[in-house]
Symmetry: C2
Subunit: 323 residues, 2 copies
């Protein structure tokens, strides 16, 4: 029997489960909404368990054997115990998620912060340990990050490192969900980009976005990608502004941490990264100390939505679960 692992990405809107073999090939995938009927603990747990079961059912049970489960969660997690301290977007607090899943499937369960998992995916799987010191920056509804120092994920003293989205960059800026004002994610997340576009639309600016979203007043990353494709001036302008903010942040992190690489991922980057990265790179280069920017790579991750899934694979491989 071939050993496989289940890699679970538990996001604020969807639960994504992929089954991968020892070579990192995705054999099956299941998606479920994460918060149907409210995001209670038993509810989310049930949906994760069902998603894993369904993904496994797609495979021939005589040929494949589940050997471990890795779960990425958007929140603070103790990876040693599997305890979720706090995952605001899932409404979870002090929840030992690993135990019931371990009981159900009788295999080891690893829980990890999703940005850390995505960064492990980029570092181990996508860039194959090439960057000794790097950061994975995930630009989506919010902005998160994972840090790698000396080829190891860095979690901080209470497992909360990487909260780049809540670094205050514009004290006179917009109110953030965290209660502060001017956090980085109020400047450059998809939420911020959408807010700026709507604000210009209200001022009478013409944009293809109005047509693309129709009555549905939500600007998704795909909408932005489409507008960029159509060379929509307003979308380009707002994305350039966000790119300059991201580039300035990268310059600051280069000065502080002298990293080898900044790898960008998340919905906004997957959709518009090719347009944004030249502006990001130019801003970072012009604002960083030359010695700190020497040889620095600023890249778009090729893993897209699957960064955390491949992070789960890389972690399982590192821990010997395919042996």
């Amino acid at each position: 029997m071939k050993k496989v692992i289940a890699s679970v990405d538990t996001g604020g809107t969807k639960i994504l489960v992929s089954i991968l073999d020892a070579k990192g090939k995705i054999l099956s995938t299941t998606k479920k909404a994460s918060k149907v009927n409210g995001g209670t603990k038993p509810n989310i747990l049930k949906r994760i368990i069902n998603a894993i079961s369904e993904a496994m059912e797609d495979l021939d049970s005589d040929e494949f054997k589940l050997s471990a489960i890795v779960i990425g969660v958007p929140g603070t997690i103790n990876p040693d115990t599997g305890l979720i301290y706090l995952a605001p977007n899932l409404g979870l607090k002090n929840f030992l998620i690993s135990d019931p899943i371990k009981q159900k499937f009788k295999v080891p369960v690893i829980v990890e912060n999703d940005a850390n998992l995505g960064t492990i995916g980029i570092h181990k799987y996508e860039t194959e340990d090439k960057f000794r010191n790097m950061i994975g920056i995930f630009v989506g509804t919010g902005i998160g990050a994972g840090l790698v120092f000396d080829n190891k994920i860095y979690r901080g003293s209470n497992f909360t490192a990487g909260e780049i989205g809540h670094m205050i960059v514009e004290p006179a800026g917009f109110k953030c969900g965290c209660g502060q004002t001017g956090c980085f994610e109020t400047m450059a997340s998809r939420t911020a980009i959408a807010r700026d576009i709507f604000s210009e639309i209200r001022l009478g600016k013409k944009t293809i976005i109005t047509k693309l979203i129709g009555k549905n007043k939500i600007i998704k990353s795909g909408t932005l990608a489409r507008a960029v494709e159509e060379k929509d001036k307003l979308t380009q302008k707002i994305l350039i502004k966000a790119s300059i903010d991201i580039g300035t942040m990268i310059a600051n992190l280069a000065n502080l941490l002298n990293l080898d690489a900044f790898v960008l991922a998340g919905g906004v980057i997957e959709a518009c990264g090719d347009f944004m990265i030249p502006y990001i790179r130019q801003t970072a280069k012009s604002h960083a100390l030359p010695g700190n920017f020497k040889g620095v790579k600023i890249l778009k991750s090729k893993l897209g939505d699957n960064a955390a899934i491949f992070g789960g694979y890389a972690l399982a491989k590192e821990k010997g679960f395919f042996k």
Copy 2:
């Protein structure tokens, strides 16, 4: 014979050499100006060598034997080779400082960035490995820092990590010596504090500083300490402003790096830290994510001007030079 080491702090204005024994006791100290007759390589080298020789001459040569020399330099250094890539304040570039000193004294010579050395002094000697993840922030003419992750000094990919003074925090701010605008050290260094005080004096504000500096138009850290002691309103106001900037930076670093401790040192902190730290702490606490600030210590180093000297001692001890 008792083994001793020479710990050298090569600053932009002075070269400080202390001889320490295995217990970390300072047996003798010599100070020399660093840039007399211009800061050429042979000149600085000669002054360092003379300062070490003089400091050793103060000791009984039958009783003490020099076993290593540690040199702190304000610049980018490869500690493996002893090569100074760039030390702008000393006017040094691509200078293998360790070799001629090794030839002269016939003992191993270690070269290290001064902020890293100061941080090693705080981490190993002052706080005795108590903080697994910490930063030493040195507020003086400029602002530098040293990072400790997982109880080890973190130097970055090209040995340039810790350039906190050049993180851009106010893009619409003051021009910095590095060529950028709004760097952290244009907000909160002694240079920035002095600039803000002079600017208010020009606007007609009354302050004891005017009397303290007399015709000599230089505000030293000692001048600030004296003015705070006298409860000078203007000095207090400007120091509170700098404290808020430092506190905001600390909140941002807490969110990014989830450290155990922020230890402050350098001339400004040594002189005015007792007044400033309550404001720094309050600002940091109110701006950091609660989970990232849990249990965080913000402290004033007790090592003062000697942080790098004790860093040299701690490094020599770690490397077994007293054995």
